[in-house]
Subunit: 305 residues, 3 copies
């Protein structure tokens, strides 16, 4: 028998998503239902072979699996050792791995202020995943780590060749991160993002800035600045928090999009929590062509295995 | 590593299904090939977090998976404890969980008399599964247990909002069960079902009645009474049995549909059995628009892991 | 918990496949990314119940899974014991199980000389898998084993009823194998194949002949002879090898197709290797309507779990 680990996550509850559906059962509001296989083989001298297959998101409302049951979240193999780690395949971007931490509610799909205006900490400069990557991460030098990724053109319409570099640094309560992104095909989307978080023990404060340099002359896409701010406080097994996000546009900076998120989580264990969250978005400027003025709320359970 | 359990079932053999195909390899004749993940986390004080992903049916003839590889059989998360158990997501209905026991051959797909005329003990008043359920089961009170489920409208054409309540009671050799069902959207299918089973030790006898109140004026659907009767006898590792089912129609009660099933199972272990079964159906009245007069038989192996 | 085993394989690297794509990330060049479940239950007296579900190939470039996530590689259940073993379902053919060994680089998809001209050792007389099989293998008699399979018509266009018998014999450094194949539907493809391999310790030499009797009058399909030759040498953890394949056509024997493969593998462990391979094919005669004159190369990692 091999050393493979089966893992996953499930999220279900009751609520109302952005976009005007009725109140009803919700899934993947605070997390992403998924399942996966991962493993690591010790090859000696500190060298390891590593892999990960991950499938999702799984909609618990009907059992459907995103990507028609493919391993569209993770499908990679690689080596790690004293030189760092190398991965080849489909996986999360350096941005996703470094910047996601600055959303204090785990980039929750349902209520995230950043996601509500298309400004997800983990993916605003591209998808949060990228096909056909070769991704390298340095070892962790006293909290400092660099990640670079290059993706060859994979002959699909939506995932073009790209390059990213991201850096993260963690010392004491402080975490900072930054990423630069270049998409090398038609869309020519380029940009960068910076984030910082400080854990004071009784509260955690996080800030996030991103610049999208996309030269896209359409009215509501590309070219702009995004901001995010968050504060969260653990109170025993509870964590409560508030986050806000704002996005403007180079051609019409006054017409920004704004979103707010209020959340509370109650940990039943390290693997299971109850959650409640609410969100408000005002994107009447159609900065992202999104929800105009809208609200959302959800309560539920998130379980990891 | 988590406490996740991988489980499944495979069924293959040789035979001829209802519907006139040639004799050949059959799959899922006596059971349903599937695989799944399930787990339970102890949260303390008797509280548990539970989940289940299950995918199938898997046709062993070509490896194809029903629902395009989705977890269309089970995809839910919930909590259980002294209050009972709560599940949220896609799962089997209360009817399925309570009434299936009255088919003495496990609601076998290939030969079931009840299924042959669209009268499956586990699903005749709706599908055997339902999207977007919130399902609650009481604790087991000396053999008595109540289950209720409510499903919000999940925005699909086929699975509409519904409500069900089912009760089961088991004492000594006796098992009884009942269910009431209301489908709240266009089809307005409502009805109820009752079943009883007695295990005399040397034989088991089972009976089943269901009433479909559907106000559907089409000639061969909705509105009618169904009956099922079964007898089975364990003889060492063998079990042999005979079952019959009858379904009439409110608008034309004489033109009922009738089906018979003869089965024999030989247990090689708790997880593996050899089976042989044959069935006859007469639905010339097109009560279910089904097989007219037809026969089926199959022999095979069913293995659980 | 049952005795189920989760297993799989991942292959990713950099290279250029046959067919003129740009150099970029490659997957499944030297192996086939996959995952599966298999298990065996001891029923006593040497009797076992066995099963296998296997899904793939998985393209690591985008995580997509062949056959839309179905268990299209293996989906069978069966029994084994002193009588041999019996499998029912979709599985690899006797030819695949016996003849694949004569390709010294594991019938690698990317570089195999045999596969480049449609002459795969493991499947040239049919697919490498077959739906709806009943397959029986004798016990191993001092290295001698016989396999027979019959597949009923499974009502699909591509997988028709067929029969195969294959024999393998292994003694000391010698392995020989042969298969006869009959496809009983419209294509009427029949034929046979023979192979032999000798392991001298310092080198391994393999030869392969196949005869396709297909009575197909189209210019470039069916009816012909195929040859394969290979030599490989282990040098510590390295293995290097060279293989060639040739295919003619009954109606125009001079216009054959030829392919060459040069490969080197470096074992990091029993489960993980680095590989490099290059191939050249000349099929200007369009014997298989394939690549004309073309080249390929790839380097990568193959990991099994």
């Amino acid at each position: 028998q091999s050393n493979v680990v089966i893992y996953g996550e499930l999220d279900a509850g009751i609520g109302q998503r952005y976009s005007g559906e009725d109140v009803g059962m919700i899934s993947n509001y605070a997390g992403t239902s998924r399942w996966g296989l991962r493993g690591s083989e010790d090859l000696g001298n500190g060298l390891k072979a590593n892999f990960n297959f991950e499938s999702g998101s799984i909609e618990l409302g009907d059992g459907s699996v995103g990507g028609s049951g493919s391993f569209n979240r993770q499908a990679w193999v690689g080596l790690s050792g004293s030189f760092g780690s190398l991965m080849v395949g489909r996986t999360t971007t350096p941005q996703n791995r470094v910047m996601g931490t600055f959303d204090l509610n785990g980039t929750a799909d349902g209520s995230s202020a950043l996601k509500a205006i298309g400004l997800a900490a983990n993916g605003n400069l591209g998808g949060s995943r990228q096909n056909a990557q070769v991704q390298y991460a340095t070892p962790n030098f006293n909290g400092l780590q660099l990640r670079v990724a290059y993706a060859t053109n994979d002959n699909t319409e939506t995932d073009k060749a790209f390059a990213q570099a991201a850096v993260s640094y963690k010392t004491g309560g402080l975490t900072i991160g930054g990423v630069i992104h270049k998409k090398m095909n038609d869309a020519q989307r380029t940009g960068y993002a910076l984030g910082a978080k400080y854990d004071f023990g009784s509260i955690v404060v996080s800030g996030f800035y991103t610049r999208d340099e996309t030269e896209d002359t359409r009215t509501n896409l590309g070219g702009g600045d995004g901001f995010g701010l968050g504060i969260a406080a653990p109170i025993g097994a509870f964590t409560v928090g508030l986050q806000a996000a704002y996005l403007n546009h180079d051609n019409n900076a006054v017409d920004g999009a704004t979103a707010y998120e209020l959340f509370g989580n109650y940990s039943l264990s390290k693997r299971t929590k109850l959650y409640a969250a609410a969100g408000y978005v005002n994107d009447e400027a159609e900065r992202r062509g999104g929800y105009k003025e809208d609200t959302t709320f959800g309560i539920g359970i998130l379980h990891k295995f």
